[in-house]
Symmetry: C2
Subunit: 271 residues, 2 copies
């Protein structure tokens, strides 16, 4: 099943796709939906079709957005590191997220880079759980781009200040439930800048898969329905290129995951 | 003025200290209070005294808890680093916090360490503000201990997974407003383990002061009333000692800041 938060005639609405048509659900967005019920239960409440449906940020209020760095073998190699024993984790905020077609408004003079990522949507309360419980607690998957302010990321040892700029991480356009997509078998994660393919990865090569990441994180902090876990980015980021390549004003970043959809965001530099 | 969240006869209540007596305020806790008004406005609404007042976690639901590492000159030297040009920042969650007298329930077999810290309570919406605006947006100060799981902190480059264990960071017992305490002039931050002083720092030696930290963070993400910014820890942490010293089951950690108060937490190892 496909779920989304859509701009409807009466404001945002959660929706489910049925027979190629989006049908409204009785919640304002998918954060509200997952706070109240499950996707399976929600689908039974599908109402009328949503006209002129435009996807918004599907999950506007995750309590936690946790990212895994260095998770694709090829991206790890381009940074010159060995395959990791533990996942490298860092957080973002709900404030960091933005819509699937939103402009990326960021300051001129910084080193803006792309990181196409598959994101896992948590569907259950998970604390100190094993892999199987974590796998059963996956509500679905969506597309994100962990747009990074590289000069701020590398100002200190901790990446956080380059990773948590407000409205810098597009997400969406839809959430696809696990029976339709199998990232362990492999789906393609692709980033294009102004139409040129800059990243292509296969989630089958992830060092830490979705269930493994959720179980690991749940060792130290609780995950709740609607939380997001970003699974890392494949090789091809701008900072690792020779010469380095950073995003410029007006650049169009397209981020796709097979079976989910595409984000299309334009960089707007200010200041 | 001193504010707290107290256990009252009818459940938690925000409260203000007047003439050595805690008086109830019409909010359940200081997160709710600062979401609705300011401390100055709230104080005018003081009700009856709260009998048998026991301080709880003063701010149970901050949207952001951001910590600065490596901010005292002596602690920077003990880690072998140079004085920083930029603050090293990393986050915790509301889930990471716990009460001023709560047990610290953490897994046996990990390297638990202390980090006594002065924390700043945000009192205004701050985004891209200068130092003066940030200074005016400080609601008050409280005491925290950034208890760290060192082996997890150093598993990868990013400290987050050693810093965000649920219910590991005690905070409180009260929030003191800025007219009563001047961390730039200097207040003592002290940690004792089983009565032995292990840390003593003077906030006057902070490389990045409260207003500077809030202004810097506001460059990339919005701060809101009730958010917390931890200002770093002085020298004397267990991991930097020869031999190293980590917390054991039953250890009592006392964390004090002059003019605010003392946290007293007992380590309870499980598993």
């Amino acid at each position: 099943m496909h779920f989304a938060t859509l701009s409807g005639p009466a404001g945002p609405t959660a929706a489910v796709l049925a027979q190629d048509t989006w049908h409204a659900l009785p919640w304002a967005d998918l954060s509200e939906l997952l706070g109240a019920t499950t996707f399976a239960e929600a689908a039974a409440l599908a109402g009328g079709p949503v006209p002129d449906a435009r996807p918004l940020l599907p999950l506007p209020r995750p309590g936690k957005v946790i990212c895994c760095g260095l998770n694709y073998g090829d991206h790890i190699r381009e940074t010159g590191r060995a395959l990791p024993e533990y996942p490298t984790l860092f957080p973002k905020y709900a404030d960091t997220l933005t819509g699937p077609d939103a402009d990326l408004v960021l300051p001129r003079g910084t080193q803006l880079d792309w990181e196409a990522e598959l994101a896992v949507v948590v569907g259950a309360v998970l604390r100190s759980v094993d892999r199987d419980t974590a796998a059963a607690g996956i509500a679905g998957y969506t597309v994100t781009n962990d747009i990074s302010v590289r000069d701020w990321q590398y100002r200190t040892l901790e990446w956080f200040q380059g990773k948590a700029w407000d409205a810098s991480t597009p997400a969406g356009p839809v959430v696809v439930t696990p029976e339709e997509i199998d990232p362990v078998a492999g789906v393609d994660v692709v980033c294009r800048v102004n139409g040129e393919e800059v990243q292509r990865g296969d989630t089958g090569s992830l060092v830490f898969d979705a269930a493994g990441l959720l179980a690991y994180i749940s060792t130290f902090t609780v995950l709740r329905p609607g939380d997001l876990v970003l699974t890392g980015t494949p090789g091809g980021v701008g900072t690792a290129r020779e010469p380095q390549w950073f995003l410029a004003d007006g650049d169009v970043v397209e981020t796709s995951v097979t079976g989910i959809g595409t984000l299309r965001n334009t960089v707007r530099l200010t200041g």
